[in-house]
């Protein structure tokens, strides 16, 4: 056995162009058998095209798709043994829910009784066993979505492709499914590629997250890696709610080393890193990393409360610093914190992110520490 055979899915330099536009620009990635990979990115990033290339309904201009170690070049979609659920459900409008689900195995499963048992058991699992004889137009959006999932799951495919399956369902259902799906997928034990534009979904479902924009992979990592060390400003902005605080900064140097000044505090960067002085950078601090502190705290930032938005489990406060910068601060709800007037905030210097302004790329920082200006 080669190492490759352990991979449920392997993509090697997939390129796809449409009328001169490069939709997939040499995508390579691999997914361990039985694990879930989330493709995350804005619309137009090429996620859906990539998923279809894996399914075999779109042929790549170059590159190779391997499923369970088998090269899929020239293999028709019906022979790839994958299951797929579509964002718009793509149910067959002229067939009942039952037939929709059965269609995925009717070719392989010749025994009528086993086919029936398979359809009913997956329908039960997804709680649509009551509506199996309904036509798709008679189903609610949630039922449609579950039927589409059932159709993808029923054949126990070794590779399951889910194209933003929660996109078109209401918030409540999305919340429920976000909890239900990981268990369901784990139970199936299949390799999963899951496309989404919702960072919470990505964090909840992915063993690995691949962030794509414009046909390129921006970052690959575990949910924690993506959140804690976003590779670009865009990724930092996309993962996290409320959105990360960003400030244009220009590092300076004094006798203690390079520093970034923020209100009346200086954040010193360890000497080891390259010279950033006078370059244009963007500093990011997540709203969750900020906290209120007492005025006596020397390196704290003075600000005024502009608006307070309680959001059930958390409270988001909009602050205006003395320097005129807006800051968002997010804390667990129920803490007795200032509603208005002047406040001081401080933060853990190790929680800051620094990005190059032009390229948006992350600058790795080590041992940052804050000091008040004398």
């Amino acid at each position: 056995m080669t190492e490759k055979s352990l991979k449920g899915l392997q993509l090697d330099r997939i390129v796809k162009r449409y009328k001169g536009d490069t939709v997939l620009n040499g995508i390579s990635l691999s997914v361990d058998s039985g694990s879930t990979l989330v493709l995350f990115g804005p619309s137009g990033a090429g996620k859906t095209v990539l998923l279809r290339t894996i399914a075999g309904v779109i042929e790549p201009d170059s590159g190779q798709v391997s499923i369970n170690g088998q090269d899929m070049s020239g293999v028709d979609p019906e022979d790839r043994g994958v299951g797929m659920a579509f964002q718009n459900f793509a149910l067959f409008p002229h067939m009942s829910a039952y037939k929709n689900i059965a269609s995925s195995i009717e070719v392989k499963e010749r025994s009528a009784s086993r086919l029936d048992a398979a359809v009913r058991s997956v329908a039960e699992l997804l709680k649509i066993d009551q509506v199996l004889d309904h036509a798709p137009r008679a189903l609610s959006n949630g039922q449609k979505q579950r039927t589409a999932l059932a159709r993808a799951l029923v054949g126990s495919p070794s590779l399951l492709l889910l194209d933003d399956p929660l996109r078109n369902v209401d918030a409540k259902l999305r919340f429920e499914m976000r909890i239900e799906l990981p268990a369901l997928l784990a139970q199936q034990g299949t390799t999963v590629v899951y496309v989404t534009q919702d960072y919470k979904e990505a964090m909840a479902l992915g063993d690995t997250i691949v962030v794509m924009t414009e046909g390129n992979i921006q970052q690959t990592g575990t949910p924690a890696e993506i959140y804690l060390s976003p590779a670009t400003i865009d990724i930092a902005k996309q993962f996290g709610d409320p959105v990360i605080n960003l400030f244009d900064v220009t590092p300076q140097r004094d006798n203690k080393g390079q520093y970034i000044s923020l209100s009346n505090s200086r954040i010193y960067l360890e000497n080891g890193i390259a010279d950033l002085t006078n370059g244009e950078y963007v500093l990011g601090i997540r709203p969750q990393a900020l906290r209120f502190s007492s005025a006596s705290d020397e390196e704290s930032i003075a600000a005024t409360v502009e608006a307070v938005t309680p959001l059930n489990e958390k409270t988001v406060t909009l602050l205006l610093t003395a320097g005129g910068r807006e800051l968002l601060l997010s804390r667990p709800a129920g803490l007795d914190d200032p509603e208005q007037g002047p406040v001081h905030v401080s933060f853990d210097p190790s929680a800051i992110h620094l990005f190059e302004k032009d390229s948006g790329k992350r600058v790795e920082l080590i041992n940052t520490k804050t000091e008040a200006v004398a």
Binding site: M72, V75, D79, K108, G155, S156
Partner: protein, 305 residues
């Protein structure tokens, strides 16, 4: 979920050839029909370059452009060209004005208007030959209701299609009866698909309605008008059924439009070379028109889908 997993890719490559070629196989019949039509087309082009009379098969030979050159000094040809253009120009202009008028009358989606618009489609669904026969019966000098009506308002001796003076008018009338609904129904669909905001805004601002018509309705409707007009022009310049059924091109050569003239040349004078040359010229005219048409038509089609 008791289905055993097929190993993915096991059945591969078998269909690979079929998959690439299948679209071509499916379009093959259409291609054959194309070829089957292109062959006689090329044949016609060859005939047009020959001296070819069925009555004198021994004298058949290539005379290259002679059939075409002869047209220059042939009053019959110029008559054909003139009559065809006049016929097409008159019918399409009148049908466009009438069709637009009726479409505007029926613009609102009421049950009555929808009923009327379906009713008006009936002439269009009548075979043009049969429509011509209907009008022939109505204009019969002995008992025709129209002849009676005309004479009862004091016009004596109005002989409709039998007189060279009124034959064109008569066939144009039949053409209008059959084809105005075509323009009407297309423009009606166009009018009803126009966005309502500009009209509501104009109404709120108290813009005069003639101004609204010329500056908003007409420009927005233009793609539909162009498509309908070109469509009709293409058919009208080739009109055969109505004229042939009504007068067979007569009286004399009053109505010898292209296709009628070519038909008579072929079957009566058996002058195949001249007949084919006439058709080639008509084809050249329609080819230019249809290229303009298809461009407009594609734009509309994109909008519809």
């Amino acid at each position: 979920m008791t289905v055993e997993n097929d190993l993915p890719g096991v059945r591969r490559r078998r269909i690979k050839v079929g998959r690439r070629v299948l679209p071509y196989i499916l379009s093959l019949p259409a291609l054959l029909v194309c070829i089957g039509i292109l062959v006689p087309f090329v044949t016609a082009a060859i005939y047009s370059l020959q001296r070819y009379r069925l009555s004198q098969p021994w004298a058949r030979k290539f005379n290259w452009g002679e059939n075409y050159l002869n047209f220059l000094s042939d009053p019959d040809f110029w008559n054909t060209l003139k009559v065809s253009l006049v016929y097409a120009g008159t019918t399409v202009t009148l049908e466009l004005m009438l069709g637009l008028g009726i479409a505007l009358l029926l613009q609102r989606r009421t049950r009555f208007n929808n009923f009327v618009s379906i009713m008006l489609l009936m002439p269009l669904m009548t075979a043009p030959v049969l429509a011509a026969l209907m009008w022939k019966l109505m204009t019969n000098s002995g008992f025709g209701i129209l002849s009676y009506l005309v004479s009862s308002v004091g016009i004596q001796d109005f002989r409709w299609a039998s007189s060279p003076d009124t034959a064109l008018l008569t066939v144009v009338l039949v053409d209008i009866w059959v084809y105005t609904p075509f323009i009407m129904i297309l423009l009606l669909a166009g009018l009803r698909s126009l966005p309502s905001q500009p009209f509501e805004a104009a109404a709120l601002d108290g813009v005069p309605r003639t101004f609204v018509f010329w500056k908003i309705t007409l420009p927005m409707l233009m793609p539909y008008i162009l498509t309908a007009t070109l469509f009709r022009l293409l058919d009208s310049i080739q009109q055969f059924d109505i004229i042939y059924a009504m007068t067979q091109g007569g009286p004399g050569d009053t109505l010898t439009v292209f296709q009628v003239e070519a038909y008579l040349n072929f079957f009566q004078s058996t002058n195949i070379g001249r007949s084919a040359a006439l058709m080639m010229i008509l084809w050249a005219i329609t080819f230019v028109l249809s290229n303009i048409f298809i461009k407009n038509w594609l734009k509309l089609r994109e909008r519809a889908n």
